[in-house]
Symmetry: C2
Subunit: 303 residues, 2 copies
């Protein structure tokens, strides 16, 4: 391993206590090169809570187009056999498609939409590239939940992301309510790093996309952070709403108990100043569809 010092050790044999984040949360501001549309209040809220929710950020027309494209990709026979398509454990139904910014013109354009990009570059105070992108489809009744986790913990340990300087963007394509397994977040949890116990299994990603068992924070730390936050939050809103959240914000979700499917588009923007190197706690890099190896700064599309 030829990394510099590992500031966020994890997957260790013995438990290391959680500690305060060593990096800023918001890198930009309302002036200067990476100034953007987010107000001081919004930047402060992102800094405090680790996420920002934008109710109905995209129009119904936009959403209709994205949904159509999601459907097309889920049914695309030419993607059969490709690892970037994740199917239900006991069935043929598609649950996620990765690298949609590469295989779909529609989602490539969306990932470079100035309304998103301006905000993300403002938060990260730099040019950005896409570390991962995907669409998710949780069928009615069937979609399982995900336990609490920090994405950064995985991206650092398994993908070699050095510092906390990445933002996730989730655009919901279906209305979100308390019954269809909305994303839950622990406000303020992004300010602490919870090292996880146990080495990374070989080819861990093959199982972790379905159920994560390594890289999971311990219950005591989780309980402390939820206590500190005074509770959990699950932003809810109509289709077209957008959530931006810090790479280290703890999040999870419950099962979809409703008969209606839940779908979203997901982009991870990483700072060009924070490009991934070799994994900090895994023998091999994960495949490219999970962790980009080309680090090309995004250029906004013309609206």
């Amino acid at each position: 391993m030829d990394n510099m010092q590992d500031l966020y050790p994890s997957r260790t044999k013995r438990k290391i206590d959680m500690f305060e984040r060593l990096d800023p949360v918001v890198y930009g501001d309302t002036t200067g090169k990476y100034k953007g549309p987010l107000s001081s209040e919004e930047l402060q809220s992102f800094d405090d809570n680790g996420f920002l929710f934008f109710d109905q950020f995209f129009s119904e027309d936009d959403i209709a187009e994205f949904r159509q494209e999601l459907k097309r990709l889920c049914e695309d026979d030419s993607l059969r056999g490709w690892d970037g398509v994740i199917r239900e454990p006991n069935g043929d139904e598609v649950r996620s498609v990765f690298e949609v910014h590469k295989i779909s013109n529609c989602f490539n354009r969306l990932s470079r939409h100035p309304r998103i990009l301006d905000r993300v570059r403002q938060l990260l105070g730099s040019e950005v590239y896409i570390h991962q992108s995907r669409i998710n489809y949780k069928p009615g009744f069937k979609g399982k939940g995900f336990n609490w986790h920090s994405d950064f913990e995985t991206w650092h340990a398994e993908d070699g992301m050095p510092r906390m300087r990445a933002v996730s963007c989730s655009i919901i394509l279906t209305d979100n309510n308390e019954f269809n397994g909305p994303l839950m977040l622990v406000p303020g949890s992004h300010k602490f790093f919870v090292p996880c116990v146990g080495p990374t299994p070989e080819d861990h990603y093959k199982n972790s996309l379905k159920i994560q068992q390594t890289g999971v924070p311990d219950n005591d730390s989780l309980a402390q952070l939820i206590d500190l936050a005074g509770g959990i939050e699950a932003p809810k809103g109509p289709a077209g709403s957008m959530l931006l959240f810090d790479c280290n914000t703890l999040h999870g979700s419950n099962a979809n108990m409703s008969p209606y499917p839940r779908s979203n588009v997901f982009f991870v923007y990483n700072s060009m100043e924070n490009r991934t190197t070799t994994p900090y706690a895994a023998n091999r890099r994960r495949p490219e569809f999970l962790a980009a190896r080309d680090h090309i700064p995004l250029t906004p599309i013309e609206e």
Copy 2:
């Protein structure tokens, strides 16, 4: 099988379509022998929705006492080895204790509390006995959810409950919110019976208490009933709140994603006019801790 005609066939080889309930929902009224404290509006609401929620029905002092007793029972070494104590699959922690109206003076008295009994007898228009009682304890982070189901379907098929004339009472001992796996109900679903496919496995109860796979309604019927209802409901409130729901109301719950445990007391009141006989779709009766064999009408305690 020496039952009379089976009005609610289930666990059949081939799928039978759902059909309208053949029994009343509310048997009593605001006058007469079984008159009670529920208003015409409340009776109508129970009739329409299949449940009634009473915010903070018991005081904090009452709840403190019930919680203390729950703790005592969960730690009671003399109950070790008894089938009526259900533990976590991978651990020692107690998840449910059955027949609490028999083994605990405190819960025996609670089950005969006039504030509950008057309402239940009014709904069922008759004397009542306890078909099943239990306390449930869902630890923080660990408590799993339950898929949608009708209790009546099981009580009919496996316990020989002839008709729909029973009411469940759940008293929550911890505050309920959207993150700790509250009970979810489908309003109006009690008006339809959804026959389930597949024969009852031998000793089915040993697994069904943990995860139910037989006696589960099909997704199409579920979706239809949720559509008809215009959605799902999850009554939430502080500790001490009480839910009364019809034996046939479809309900389920999600996992407890919060660090805080969730506990409740649960009594099933069956009408003396609806005493259980032999199972309608199982080879053997379930054990007594799940389905009472002594049908003794309850007498209210002096308050």
